[in-house]
Structure formats: C-alpha cells, structure tokens
Amino acid sequence: MIEVKNVTKAYGKKQHEFIALDDVSLAIDKGRSVAVIGKSGSGKSTLMHIMSGLDHPKSGSVLIDGQNIFELKQKQIDTFRAEKIGFIFQSFFLEGNETVADNVSLPLEIAHVPRSQRKERIQKALESVELSDKAKNKARNLSGGQRQRLVIARAIVNNPSIIFADEPTGNLDSQTGAKIEDLLFGLNKERGVTLVIVTHDDELAAKCDVQIRIKDGTIQSIDYAKELGDTSNKAKEGEPA
C-alpha cells in the first residue's frame, strides 16, 4: 500500500518558485497496476521520484505499508529502495560496456546479496525476459527491445514489491512494446507486484487497474477503469483509492 498525503514539491526559490506538485494525495493498493498519465512537465515524474524516496517533498508524507519513508534515515531509505523497489527508467541507464549479467547484478550487489545466490537470481531474471542466451553479451550490442527487457530484468532481479516504470514502451515499436507490456502485467498478475507506470500513452494506461491523470502538479482525476468490484468510475481529486 502506497499512500501519498498532501505532498507539495517546489523547485527554485521565492519569486522564481515553481510548484511541481501541489497538495497531491492518493493511495495505491498492493498488487494494483496504476498508470500516472500526464504531459511532460505535468509533475508525473516528480511524483514517481517522491513515491520512491528519491526526491524529498516540501511538505506532506509518503507512507509505504504504513511507514512514512521521509522519517527514515537516508541509510534506511537506501536499503528500502534496494530491497523493495524496482526501477525502469525511460532512458535505460545501462552500462554499455558491461555484460548483460553484470548489468543485472548491480542491484543485487548494492543490496548485499551474497555471491552464491546472485548467479541463480540473475539467471532467473534473464529467463523471465528471455535474455538468458545473451547473459555474456555486452549490453551495448543489444537491440532496443532487448535493452528494454534487460532493464526489466534489472528491475525485477531483487524481487521488489513495487516497480516504477517511466515510459516503459516509449522508445519501442508497437510489436516490441506489446511484448514488454505483457511482461510487466504478467509480473503484476503472477507475483502481485505493485506496478506504477508513468506514461502519456493512453492505450497503455487503459490496460492498468487505475489511471491517475495529472496536470500542472495537481491530480485531475483518478479512474478505476478496470476496477475490481467498484463500479463508480470516478473518484474525486485527492481521495484515496
């Protein structure tokens, strides 16, 4: 369960202050797939950064499983991210000169997973994105779709409970994009991983349980398009789902 309570984030100082998020509140149940939809500059990426503890809000709190992560020490936030969260960044951030396996190994090394367990977990993660045969290849020799799959493997290797994905299909052709979508929603359904997708692609958003539309730092609407049980299609801004 992710609860965002009255989060405000501002950049710059005094006269030049720019409000990126203005008193945003929302709640995401465990195991849901959620799309955060908005144009660039709407504050959706900032929201993702704050929900994952990467960025600090000016005010408000983020509770994950009831724990306000901004009350934790930096060390504990780091550990929390290393163990509970998987990231899929829009611009991959792969180490082109390292092998596929070494790229996937990075989160495990950071989380202090013993060497003996790493190999097996890397193998499993690569299997689930069908990249096992490329384990020894350099990341830079992969195609766009393979890179995206590699990024997913890196995100899931530490068995996170939440995956944040920033435009996971943005750079891909529709066929490869569909494959990636299947993979992500498969993780969501089969492993119960909470999936938060930041996108401006309505088609992808429609496949999620919840759509949160965001504009100019405020939540416009929260739709439960594929709501489980709940038939009311709309919720008021700021109301926990």
Binding site: R81, F87, P107, I110
Partner: protein, 425 residues
Amino acid sequence: MKFVDTVKRAGRNLREAKIRTLLTSLAIGVGAFTITLSLAAGSGGRSFVEELVSANTNPRAVYVQPKQDSSIPGAPGAGGVQEYSDAPSVSYGGGFQLTLMKESDIAAISNIENVERVDPIYNLNAKYVTAEGQKKYQAGLNTYDESITLEYAAGTGDDLANNEIIVSEDYLKPLGFTDASSAIGKSIAVAVDNPLGVEKLFNFTVAAVSKKSDLAVSGSSDLTINGTASKTVYEYSEQGTPLEKAYMGATVITSSEDAVSTVQSTLKDQGYMADTAEDLMSTIFTFVNVLQGILLGFGALAILTSIFGIINTQYISVLERTSQIGLMKALGMRNRDIGRLFRYEAAWIGFLGGAIGAGFAVVLGMVANPYITDALDLGKTRLLEFHVWQAASVIIGLMVVAVLAGIFPSRKASKLDPIEALRTE
C-alpha cells in the same frame, strides 16, 4: 556494495576508458620509476660500501688516535698561541703539531678489558726495493692487516713470518721473475734510510704474490710485511727522532664484535679518538644517503605532479558518469559506497602506475647493471640492487597517494543529487 564487488566494478569502469587510465597511470609511473631506481641505487650503494669497508677493515677493530689539541692555527676558532708540550709530536709548518701515541699509551690500551691486542700503525718508508742483479725500484711498504682481504696469484699471506714478504704482481717483471709461482721462496731486499741517511738493506723471502683487488683501498700496497718486521724497519728509520717508539695511531683488536662498542667508549673516556669499522662505514653511508635523497626528491616531485593528473581524470570521469551515479543511487547505493567506488578506481590507477614504473625500473636495472659495473669498475658488485619489498612498498604507497588524490572527485560523486543525475542523458 561489498568490498570485492566495488573493487571489481572499479576495475571494469577503468577498462572502459583504457587510454585515459593508461595515460594517467604513466604520470605516476614516472614517479614510481624514479623512486624504485633511487631505492635500488641506495641499496646497491650501501651494500657496495659495506663490502668495500668490510674488505678493508676488521669488524672487531677500533682505530685509535690521540686526541689532537686544538686545530690548525689561524683557522677560525683556533685557540691562538699553543703551549709547548713534551709529548712526542710531528711538527708541520705554521706551528701545527700532530700529537702521537707513546709506548705507554699502547701499554695502557692493552690493559683495557676485552682488548686482545694493540697493533701500532707504523709509518713505513722504503727507499727502494731490489732483487739480485736487478735495478732499484720505488715501492710502498705496508704492515700486514688480516682484516684486509687480499687475493693471491701465488702463495698465501696468512701466517707471514718475520722474514717473509708479500709482493704485488706489478713487481714480478721488474724484479726479474717470470711468473707468480716462480717468485715464491726467492729473496728480495728492501732498503731503508735512518735519520742520518745511512742506508740499510733488509732481506725478505717472497711468501706470496698479491693480485689487484677491486675492493681493496689500501690493499693495493706494493710490499707487505708482518707487524714484527714493520717494527724493526720503523725503529731503524726513526731511531733518535721524536718518532721513535711513537705512532700516528693504533689498531685495537677486541676479543669479540660485541665488545667493540664498550672498548670504543672506554677509549673515548680515556681521551683518545676511537672509530670502529661501523663508524667509517656510516660516514660513507651519509654520502650515499644524500645522493639517494636527492633522487627520491625528484621522484616525489613527479608523484606530486601526477596527483593533479589523477584528480583531473577522476573529476572528468565523475562528470561523464553522472547518470550512472544517479542510477546507482536510485537503486539504493549509499553515498559512502559511491565515494568508495571512485576512490578504488583511483587506487587501481595508482597500482597500475606503480606496477608500470617499478616494473620498468627493474627491467632497465637488470639490463643496465652489467654496463654500469663495467664503466665504474666495480668488480662483482651490482650498483642497482632491487628488493621485492621495496617495489611492493612503492606500489602500495602510490595506491595510498592515488586514493588521497581521489578523495576530492569521489566526494563530488557521492554528493550528486540523484534526481539531477538521472536527468542527464
């Protein structure tokens, strides 16, 4: 991140920028090269001095001279007019006197505990040397000293009898001998003048023929006789002068090497100047150390320069890899670990530079050693002496220096804001 993982990642990161890494390490390599060579030259120099001194001195010996009162007249700080003393002395121009040792001094020193014997230093002056039917030749005459290593072409100088002599191989031909072994057992004569100019011939039997030694300093003596014979010759040449039964100094042989320092301090307490073989060695060591220090200084300067190279390289590397740093922070890597990653990279550069420099120095030293030995006529001695621990400590030292240089860039890396870092593409 664990230590091994961090070290491995750091190594891999460097491999991605091979040329840059190599160039930066080469700068350190120059320093490592200079330092390794100067350490090698220092060790080589010291062991050469050690060999030299031990070939010419006895570790059980203390070299004694009477204390000289005051210094050269007219020199700054000199005590002005000196009172006349009855003690035997040699007068030089300008009223400068060299105080000598008397028989009573010798006797007193002999009574010191742990003193085995006292050999006075005889200042021998041979007028000429000759053999039957041969011309007369000038020659230096010395007293046999067991501590001076002599090499023999024939015979042996050990247990030299009172009427026996060691001849340098240079004198074989002039004295009419065909080779070294044919000279053994033959008789030669050494002429000595007394103070009145009356010449006396001392006859000796050739016991050994000495070779020129690379290490011997005074051992290049032309003729060598034993102590008793020296005494006889000396007494004849100095009879009736103040120098009779007075000596420039004496060699005190102690019963064991352990006793040397106590005997030395006793002698100093009694008012003598006393030096051990070790003292003589340390005097020469000082020169070697000063030379080595100068070389080390150049090496240190090169390393100081290379520190800025490391800082520059690592700083650029941090800027280039902003997004990588951002990703690692997003994945929960702690700031401390990020800083460590960059410091280990610097350590790798230091290791590489040290290994290249030290390795190159060792190879060059191996190649150059025979030539240096040849050029300086050092015999078997190698002027450049490499020790594994020296090379290892050069490398480790440079790794530490590199890590220190890496502190500034690594702080920059650890303080990067992950959000900012992830924004760069």
